[in-house]
């Protein structure tokens, strides 16, 4: 049987499944695959008149400009560092939170905590950033509290030294509850008999967590880690854009905000496409690399 015959056969058998997956596939094709054609702009001196098809071809000029730009190392470093801190501090937070929640008996207390911790995730990013700006800007109560404890900044948010901390801490606060859902689900699949056996052998709670719970959810943790590493270069664009200011460019300006300023505000489409393409290539290498590593050292991988 050829591929198409197989496909036809399979289609007949699983008509409904194909129907269900159709919107997702269409979404991917229309919004993810077709726009990839626009990447050709990275090699053009794009002008609205010529459009994608007849703007002058400049080869790797746009890339050269970016690599020689005074801001190249800075935006690259900021992108990496922001995501990296987010990963090392933010990745474990939902896991620990899920473990803690798991130790609480079901009841009103647990439900309340869960609901409250999920809440920030569902509030619009603009509102969240508005809150952060009000609290950590000049006159904000966190800023004023910090002044009492010896801080020298009238506004915490506008000191480049504080930007990363504010960004990471608020990210943890925002994603803690929502991120823990998947681990809670994984935890519920751990065999309860193992715990009973451990208790018989006299294992305390910490020992139970270390020897049963964590190994039980390790495959989920590895998959989530691979996903996170793949996203290492895609910092939360909206959040950075809403929180940064010229004063904090030094630590806050990331590749995507740079692309936005160059491309949308400066009308330099070719250049910003080149920078965006560079970002995507690195991100792709990271996903593939971390996946290969995971495959080699454990039996879990994405593909």
């Amino acid at each position: 049987m050829t591929f198409f015959q197989k496909l036809g056969h399979d289609f007949k058998r699983n008509k409904m499944l194909y129907l269900i997956s159709f919107p997702v596939v269409a979404f991917l094709i229309i919004f993810s695959y077709i726009p990839m054609g626009g990447l050709v702009m990275a090699f053009e001196k794009f002008s609205p008149k010529g459009g994608i098809f007849s703007s002058p071809w400049v080869g790797f000029d746009n890339f050269k400009h970016f690599f020689q730009s005074v801001y190249f190392l800075r935006v690259l470093g900021n992108t990496f560092l922001l995501s990296f801190y987010d990963l090392i501090f933010g990745f474990w937070a939902p896991i620990i939170f899920a473990l803690l929640l798991n130790e609480i008996k079901d009841g009103l207390f647990k439900k309340t905590i869960q609901t409250i911790s999920y809440l920030p995730y569902f509030v619009s990013m603009v509102v969240i950033c508005g809150l952060i700006m009000d609290f950590t800007g000049g006159d904000g109560f966190i800023s004023r509290a910090a002044l009492i404890f010896g801080s020298k900044d009238a506004s915490l948010l506008s000191n480049p030294a504080n930007f990363r901390s504010i960004f990471v801490v608020s990210n943890i606060w925002q994603g803690l509850g929502y991120g823990s859902i998947i681990y809670l689900a994984a935890l519920s699949s751990v065999d309860q008999e193992l715990f009973e056996a451990a208790r018989m052998d006299g294992a305390g709670r910490l020992r139970q967590i270390w020897h049963i719970t964590l190994p039980g959810i390790s495959s989920t943790i590895v998959i989530m880690l691979i996903l996170r590493i793949g996203l290492l270069l895609t910092v939360n664009f909206e959040k950075v854009l809403l929180l940064y200011s010229p004063a904090t460019y030094e630590t806050a300006d990331v590749i995507s905000t740079y692309v936005y300023r160059k491309g949308i505000l400066g009308l330099d489409y070719g250049y910003s496409t080149a920078v965006g393409l560079f970002n995507s290539v690195i991100a792709f290498i990271l996903v593939a690399g971390s996946n290969a590593l995971a495959k080699r050292y454990s039996d879990v991988s994405l593909y």
Binding site: S188, A247, Y260
Partner: protein, 559 residues
Amino acid sequence: MSKSVRILSLLTCLFLMISLVAGCGTGTAQSTAPTQSSATAPAAASAEPQSSSATAGQPLHKLSDTPVTFTIWKPGTPAIGKVIQSYEDSAAFQEMAKISNITLKFDTPVFGQEADKFNIMVSSGEYPDLIEGIASYYSGGGDKAISDGVILKLNDYITKDAPDYMAARKANKTIEKETITDTGNMYQFEEIVYGDTVEPPAWGLAIRQDWLDDLGLKAPVTYNDLHDVLKAFKDKKGATKPFSLDASGVPGFSSFTGGLGFYVALPGGICSTSEYFYQVDGKVKYGPLEPGYKDYLTMMAQWYKEGLVDPNFLSVKNFNDLISVMSSGKAGVAVLPKPMFAALKANSNDPKFRMVALANPVKNPGDKIHVVNANNWTFPGDGIAISTSCKNPELAAKYLNMWYTDAGTTLLNYGVEGSTYNMVDGKPQETELLTKNPDGLSLIDALCKYCVFQFAFRSDYSRQYVGISDDQLNAHKAWLSNADPAYNMPSTSLTGDEATTYAEVMNDINTYVQETTVKMLMGLTPLTDYDKMVQTIKNMGIDKAIAVKQAALDRYNSR
């Protein structure tokens, strides 16, 4: 067991999906293009045969047998959305539409987001028939917009179909010079000053006069006086933001820094990237390289340290932010546009609130400032270009031409006869509908409602001196009292190549200057680094940008 595994895998899938969607959202700007409804003009609309070109001085007349609609992108003023919903509601435009059978359909971006919305409109590739703002927002200017295929070169249309505009251009040498680019292109219909009354300054320093009166203080003259007044506002009036600044770190549009010897313009509106080029005796200078800039940084850093500058100035990113800071009762001094005085009072809870203009400060009493945000004969920012999407550019040119005829000028400047003006001795005389509006509208707001304000037409600035409040009249006097326009940069034009070089160099330099400026101002970078800043700006290629500007200025002077 197996059930929970299935739930787990479902959740994993769900998570994958969500991160996918989130990934797609990242960095993708919404391209909500203005819905294109281009001119519905049938070919037969231009009834006149091609050979006979129009003659000047015709009265307003019907231009098309069938109704025609032109779409137009035009930024708003604070009055749009408050006094009238859209420019379409302006009585003058409605009258114009009735006579000419041509209606304008306005696409007006949210106030304060003009630059973003303009770029999105341009990058969508779907242009309205008429576009305002090429000079302000199109990186590279008019010539580049023509070669990029966004707008049409208008020379032929103007010579053939717009004789009145042609005549208006020739009113004096400066206007003629400034309505054509160095490459000889006419790319838009410009706003031109009508008569001899040049534009009064629209922006300048303003102060809470009621606080000055309460404290028995005199209007500050020097920077030191201003410092003492700000300190008094902070100590005695509880002002936490005595001096209000916007995120750019330097008040633009004004001569606030003129006393220190350099000039700042904000070509794209408030809080956009500042432009620091000015000229002294035909030689182009770049502000941040001049010694006055260090003086400015030193002074502002000191003020910031003393708590005299709004500590949240970095979050003041548009007009509305500025309005809310100034009407909060916590701020005392700011650089403001004159029409905002009344709006601020209306927004404030303080019944005594009174904002008045203040002469821009100087170092020593009696010093002169050589830059003025006024005295222009043309206003490229308000000009209207015809886009390449326009189906019937001849008709559009004929229509725009009508705005420059005598009848058109009267209609747009003074509205409909019998309603907003009456003819007295052959001159239009405003009625009380404009000067003492029964709904309490300020003159500028009333002008927006019944006439036209800031548009491509012959603008009669004597309007702004009639029935004007004393505070506003004094504003003109105050802002001109110690200043002359000797160092002003005229509206030069760059060639396509020059514009590319300029944009490449200045994009990076602007970011750097803005960043370093606010950091020094806030004390995050020591002021001793100023020399390093100058060196960095030079390394980034400022000489190339200055050379480009110099060449443009030389061409302008020898036009």
